[in-house]
């Protein structure tokens, strides 16, 4: 096992020296679009695309500069400024891990920017949409490029904000506004974990920088490290929609489809995987309880997401369930230590391509079908949208792990490593792959095959080129990227300096005919065949049948919302009711009672003022007599 190399301070100039441009450019774009406002309506979307593309160019140049360096120097820390004196030096860390993410974010991000030009063409608020997209790209890049946890956290919150703004982009729809709020609130729970984890990191090690943590992590007790690991895992669960904080992702589909593709499939939701892999060298030692927890969360979520995906009729929610499930695979891989990191990141990258491809394909279908999302009202669309159909099929084959496509290599890598390291979780992942085969086939058959079940006013048509070209580029990545990254362990060797890797002699070999791999393929075939029987050959009812208990279970997101409601929301409401009661009756009672008491007493006291001058004269006389008497008693006269 080779450990990560030392982080070296970047000295010479070059593109790495100005890698902050990657973040600054989209941020500038967002600022211009938001500050100048309506003035930029005509060309705002073009500026957004240009900024994203420029950021991509910087990322590519930085990537080539990085691979030009010898392996021992491939972790370059670029100091920017002293953020909190004596506490946090803001800087960027350009290493194979962060640059992989930067390429994915800016690359897929740019394609989705381009696609959005067409998708949002009829929206009067397109400029604001691009401003938020640019803001998201900037925040996400800060998240992955920062060389310390504070920078990471700022980016983390930034993407949360962008996600909130974009889910609620059509805030005139109450469902979108509620979904945005839900995403924000659930993410707060995760952020709480991340924050407390950072607090413990600071008190235990006195530093937030990745460069210093490596040397110091040995000084803390095992319990501290486990606590930090579990808290960071909570943060990762929130951002990556893993159990038990998964409930926001399905509702997040209320946002425009490009947002679902970019933020809630390709990039932001993978931030949790990034956090685990980035902290892997410090807080997730292979075999430790917290690493096992990561793997278990991943395995549980991959099954939960797959089951949810089976029952959804809303095409975007089906894809969202699938996203949960695939991120579950990544988490499982990330919980297996350096052996799994490369496959997790590899799956993350290829998933970024094929899931963005399918989400944008779904968007293209919706675009042609008057924004209809119910798959029961699709059917037979392959003839009417040939390009969308072809690219969606590529994404579909990639995600179910059709041999030699991207998903096959990366998912199989995770499954094989898991079967080797944690057999139980590994075979659960195999089962999950079979379910994936079912629900994705169901989606394809319901949408593109079978007879037409359209609404009367639907006139499906192929989308404009500005939308289909990104689809084609993404599907090319969905075909070839996985094989390129995994075969001959290219990604594993490349990531080695950042994450550690097995030594050259122990590098895993890709087996095309291993037992888990063949079982996976067989299960996927069974799943797809079953889907063909139910949704391809048989007629799909336009109105969803009632379904068995299990169907309802899956349709209701495994009762996740019901659980949250009964466990947190209702007790919370009771708590507030008790507080309100206490406030009204307790605190208000004391205050009002005091006021009423004083008021009543003075009401009685004022009766003394009779208005008769003689009464006053008498009281003066009595007073004077009393005073005189008192003075006499004291004897001062």
């Amino acid at each position: 096992m080779e450990s990560p190399v030392e982080i070296v301070q970047h000295t010479a100039g070059g593109v790495i020296g100005v890698s902050w441009l990657m973040i600054a450019l989209p941020l500038l774009g967002a600022a211009i679009l938001l500050i100048l406002g309506r003035v930029t309506n005509r060309w705002g979307h073009l500026l957004g695309v240009a900024m994203s593309l420029a950021s991509f160019v910087v990322a590519v140049l930085a990537f080539f500069e990085l691979i030009g360096l010898p392996e021992a120097q491939r972790r370059q820390a670029v100091h920017l400024w002293e953020f909190i004196p004596g506490m946090v030096d803001m800087g960027l860390l350009i290493d194979p891990l962060s640059i992989s993410f930067a390429l994915l974010i800016t690359g897929v991000g740019s394609l989705i920017h381009i696609y959005s030009i067409g998708y949002m063409a009829h929206d009067s608020d397109r400029r604001r949409f691009f401003a938020y997209l640019n803001l998201f790209v900037a925040a996400m890049l800060l998240l992955v490029l920062a060389d310390n946890y504070v920078g990471l956290f700022i980016g983390w919150e930034g993407v949360g904000l962008a996600s909130y703004l974009l889910i609620g982009f059509w805030q005139f729809k109450p469902s979108a506004a509620v979904a945005a709020k839900k995403a924000f609130v659930v993410n707060r729970v995760g952020d709480f974990g991340l924050l407390v984890g950072m607090f413990i990191i600071w008190t235990s090690f006195g530093t937030f920088a990745f460069a210093d943590l490596g040397a110091q992590v040995g000084t803390a007790s095992q319990g501290t490290v486990t606590a930090i690991g579990l808290l960071l895992l909570l943060g990762a669960c929130g951002k990556s929609a893993q159990l038990p904080l998964q409930s926001w992702l399905l509702d997040a589909m209320e946002g425009p489809t490009p947002v679902s593709a970019l933020i809630h499939a390709a990039t932001m939701v993978t931030a949790g995987v990034y956090l685990v892999v980035r902290s892997g060298a410090f807080f997730f030692e292979p075999g430790s309880p917290q690493a096992l927890a990561v793997a278990i969360v991943g395995a549980a979520t991959l099954l939960a997401g797959a089951i949810i995906g089976c029952a959804k009729d809303d095409i975007k929610k089906g894809l969202a369930g699938s996203t949960m499930s695939q991120i579950g695979y990544m988490m499982l891989g990330a919980g297996l230590g350096p052996a799994g990191y490369a496959f997790a990141i590899g799956h993350l990258i290829t998933h970024g391509f094929f899931k963005a491809d399918m989400f944008l394909g779904a968007g293209s279908v919706m675009h042609g079908m008057n924004d209809e999302v119910d798959m029961r009202k699709y059917g037979g669309l392959r003839k009417y949208m040939p390009l969308t159909f072809a690219t969606f099929m590529v994404g579909y084959l990639a995600i179910i792990g059709f041999p030699l496509l991207s998903g096959y290599f990366t998912k199989d890598g995770i499954i094989e490593t898991a079967v080797h390291e944690q057999p139980v979780l590994g075979w659960l992942a195999v089962l999950g792959a079979g379910i994936t085969g079912f629900y994705m086939s169901r989606m394809v058959f319901m949408t593109f095959f079978g007879e037409k079940r359209w609404a009367e006013d639907a006139h499906p048509h192929e989308s404009p080129k500005v939308m289909t070209i990104p689809l084609i580029v993404l599907s090319i990545g969905s075909v070839f990227l996985g094989g390129y990254l995994i075969l001959s362990n290219r990604l594993m060797v490349f990531l080695g300096p950042a994450t550690g890797r097995p030594s050259d002699a122990n590098l895993p070999e890709f087996h095309f005919a291993s037992t888990p791999g063949l079982t996976t393929l067989a299960l996927v075939a069974v799943g797809a065949g079953f889907a063909w029987m139910r949704y391809g050959k048989a007629t799909v009812p336009v109105v969803a049948p009632r379904g068995s208990f299990l169907t309802t279970f899956a349709r209701r997101d495994l009762y996740g919302d019901a659980l949250n409601e009964s466990l947190f929301m209702r007790p919370g409401q009771w708590l507030t009711r008790i507080a309100v009661f206490f406030d009204n009756r307790g605190i208000d009672g004391v205050v009002n009672g005091l006021a009423a008491g004083i008021g009543g007493t003075s009401g009685r006291l004022r009766r003394i003022q009779t208005g008769f001058a003689r009464t006053y004269a008498l009281s003066i006389l009595i007073g004077a007599a009393l005073l005189t008497g008192a003075l006499l008693l004291v004897g001062n006269i």
């Binding site: 003022q609 208005g611 008769f612 001058a613 003689r614 004269a617 008498l618």
Partner: protein, 98 residues
């Protein structure tokens, strides 16, 4: 020797005070107030004589000046009240109350 004067002064004051408290006619009440002031004057002068100095006599002059001023204002008020209410009873002028 001066004790008789003081007794007289006390009697006058008591009569005045009693008059203020029990009479309703504003003019009579007013006269009783004057009676009390003059009872005080008598006491002042008596003490001045007893101690053989002039302070008490000077104070008596001051009291007379104040009493004169008071009569001017007080009678004017009583006349005005009588004009508006056709009554000089102090119990009828009882609007300023709770």
């Amino acid at each position: 020797m001066t004790a008789h004067y003081l007794v007289l002064s006390g009697l006058l004051f008591a009569i005045g005070a009693l008059g203020v408290l029990i009479r309703r006619n504003a003019i009579v009440v007013f006269m009783c107030v004057e009676l009390m002031l003059n009872a005080c004057n008598l006491a002042f002068v008596t003490f001045a004589r007893q101690h053989g100095n002039l302070e008490g006599q000077i104070i008596a002059f001051f009291v007379m000046v104040v009493a004169a001023a008071e009569v001017v204002v007080g009678l004017a008020i009583i006349v005005t009240i009588f004009r508006t209410r056709r009554s000089a009873s102090v119990d009828d002028a009882n609007l300023l109350k709770y």
